[in-house]
């Protein structure tokens, strides 16, 4: 999982489910608060909690971000 799991992201928060893999996740906490529940995988908020079973969301979102940065240059 590399460094991805040590940093706070929506994609490694326990409120997340896949929405548009790996770019966006569904946040059940925001849904309950009547906020837009579709958020970027690499975002995070003050309600972040470490996910109990890690996934590839953050790793793949970071990889895609790096690829697009390289492409832009």
């Amino acid at each position: 999982m590399g460094n991805a799991s040590t940093e706070k992201y929506c994609g490694n928060c326990d409120s997340h489910n896949s929405y548009s893999y790996p770019k966006q996740v569904f946040c059940s906490t925001r849904y309950a608060q009547n906020l837009n529940p579709i958020v970027d995988t690499l975002w995070h908020c003050g309600n972040w909690n470490q996910v109990s079973q890690e996934c590839y969301c953050v790793r793949e979102a970071l990889r895609n971000k790096n690829v697009s940065l390289v492409t832009e240059h």
Partner: protein, 340 residues
């Protein structure tokens, strides 16, 4: 019985040469009369008889991977052609239908995979079928909004499971959807285990919203008089079961509670009777309870539904021909709450 009574009908060898249609093959199976081929041919005869019996209401029980495995359109076509009258389903089967109704898909996969890796990719496995988590999540969002709307419309009044499925079908637009077809054709879908599916667990999401009022309410007992009333009103009742479990038991128990007993029974299953569980129980055992009549036409086809059910439907619809026009004994009304 005398010795000669056991030797009445010789097994005829299946002749493939000249067979061009499914029903022609099925008639060869009937000539053999042995093992699974014989049972499947008997199932075709029983289903044909059910459909030609003007007094018979046909119940279809759905469980397992009917939709993920690719039998969704078969069921939808049966509804639209009025070749089934009542559906009793697991919640999961209708969840699978709703997933596809809003644009999701099930994918050809393999059982020989790393499931821990699937988990990390947010992919779910149903034996050799994959489904992405986002298809469930998009359904969750859609359903939660539908629940808000239904609860608002019914002002907190409790719904029966058939009313619930009718409300969901009303809000779907996909013509190939089982729920939508049933809504349009006034075929009730009973979901006795509605809570044990995404339908149930998404209720948590719907109810957890701040200031969410009213909350959708379902009454687990409300559909009992409705389905028992259908059995009671119908002079004869027949069932076709894919799998077993709660849908099969609901039909059988409704036939018992209405003091009717089933007149026809077809069960397609791979479950075994030795465990004492209902799904594998023989139809003879069902007779002992009074859920099926002793003289009922019945057969259990031991096989995987995806290999059996399409042959059953194809063979019988071929026999009936395109001009066959069936009028169900019971005509269900449009209003969700006033069906029986």
């Amino acid at each position: 019985m005398e010795r000669k009574d056991y030797l009445q009908t010789p097994v005829k060898h299946i002749k493939i040469d000249g067979v061009q249609t499914v029903d022609q093959l099925m008639r060869q199976f009937k000539s053999s009369g042995a093992l699974g081929a014989g049972r499947l041919a008997t199932a075709c005869d029983i289903y044909e008889k059910m459909l030609k019996d003007k007094d018979c209401t046909v119940f279809l029980a759905l469980s397992g991977t009917v939709v993920p495995a690719g039998m969704r359109t078969i069921v939808t076509d049966l509804i639209r052609k009025k070749l089934v009258d009542v559906i009793v389903s697991t919640g999961a089967c209708m969840v699978h239908d709703a997933i596809e109704a809003i644009g999701g898909h099930h994918y050809i996969g393999s059982p020989a995979v790393n499931d821990a890796e699937l988990y990390r990719y947010h992919l779910f496995r149903i034996y050799d079928i994959f489904v992405p988590e986002e298809d469930y999540v998009k359904l969750d969002l859609t359903l939660s909004r539908m629940y808000d709307d239904i609860a608002q419309e019914h002002k907190g009044e409790s719904l029966a499971s058939n009313e619930f499925s009718w409300e969901i079908g009303k809000r779907l637009t996909d013509k190939n959807s089982i729920l939508r077809a049933a809504y349009e054709e006034n075929i009730p879908i009973f979901l006795p285990a509605v809570r044990d599916s995404e339908f149930g667990f998404i209720h948590w999401l719907h109810a957890a919203q701040e200031k969410q009022k009213p909350i959708l309410q379902l009454d687990a007992f409300k559909d009992v008089p409705t389905i028992c009333g259908i059995c009671a009103k119908s002079p004869k009742n027949g069932m076709i079961v894919i799998g077993g479990g709660m849908p099969r038991n609901t039909i059988q128990s409704s036939a018992l509670a209405s003091k009717k007993g089933l007149d026809y029974g077809i069960v397609i299953t791979l479950d075994r009777p030795e465990t004492g569980g209902l799904s594998g129980s023989t139809l003879e055992e069902t007779v002992s309870w009074g859920k099926m009549k002793g003289e009922a036409d019945h057969v259990m086809v031991i096989g995987e539904a995806l290999m059996v059910f399409p042959f059953l439907v194809a063979s019988v619809t071929e026999r009936l021909g395109p001009s066959f026009n069936r009028t169900p004994f019971i005509q269900f009304g449009k209003t969700s709450g006033k069906r029986s």
